[in-house]
Amino acid sequence: MKEEIPEIFWELVKARFERMPPNLRLVIGGVGSLKKEEILNHIEKKDEIGELLGRMEIEYLKLIKEEVESYEEALNNIARP
């Protein structure tokens, strides 16, 4: 079962996409090419596309977390005598 996206997280997703450059288009198969304003609208509505964008953000953050943990592990190994 999919975990629900927490309310506070939607703010983060919105803040992220507010910084999207206007020349960039996000193309979602079966949906089409989305401009920044359209993306923000989907996030605001928390519809199916908004949900996809939210999950995209979660996966990005998980990857960053794993990266940080791997750096920590590497640093700990160096620090050990």
Binding site: R16, F17, R19, M20, P21, P22, N23, L24, R25, L26, V27, I28, G29, G30, V31, S33, L52, R55, M56, E57, E59, Y60, L63
Partner: protein, 202 residues
Amino acid sequence: MMIQLFTFFIGPGTFFKKQKKEELKVLKLEREKANRETFFDFLNSHRPSFLILNGHGDEKTIYGYNDEKIVEEGDEEALKEKIVYTIACDAAKSLGKSIVEKGGKCFIGYNRKFVFCMDETRMTRPLEDEKAASFFNATNKISISIIKGNSSLESVEKAKEGFRKEIVKWRLSKDLEAPFILRALIWDLHSLVHLGENSFFE
């Protein structure tokens, strides 16, 4: 030896560069030819062993020109003993599973929506868009690798490696677009799946 390859280009599929080799027979259905009747005529008359389906899709269907249903659940018999690769969204979720359960060699595709980024200033020249290329260079490795004789699992791994390389590239980029391209690449990497047995194109 004549090896038959069937490709099926519509919509975003036209981004793909074709690999031409003497020993391959490449058949294409583009635009209005990407319809169900022609597709099944081709399947019956040419008996290809490797299919690349670049329409859009959902869990149970891959669509062709004018959103005509081309392949849907119930068509598994026609895809027996074949390697099928599609970029169609969600198709690996249900259709892909059903194809391999009913005799398809393997099904490579995405179990969620395929997402990519484009630069608006390059929309009329998509092949010059390095942002879009990041996605298609990675996913195209599947078909190129299979045609070169690698196994289907190796080919998917090459594509995943391609996505990872692009992720590192954009991770190090200072472009303002980079964080968004990065998110979409990670999404596609995690959505790409191989179903069925490890297979060779023969």
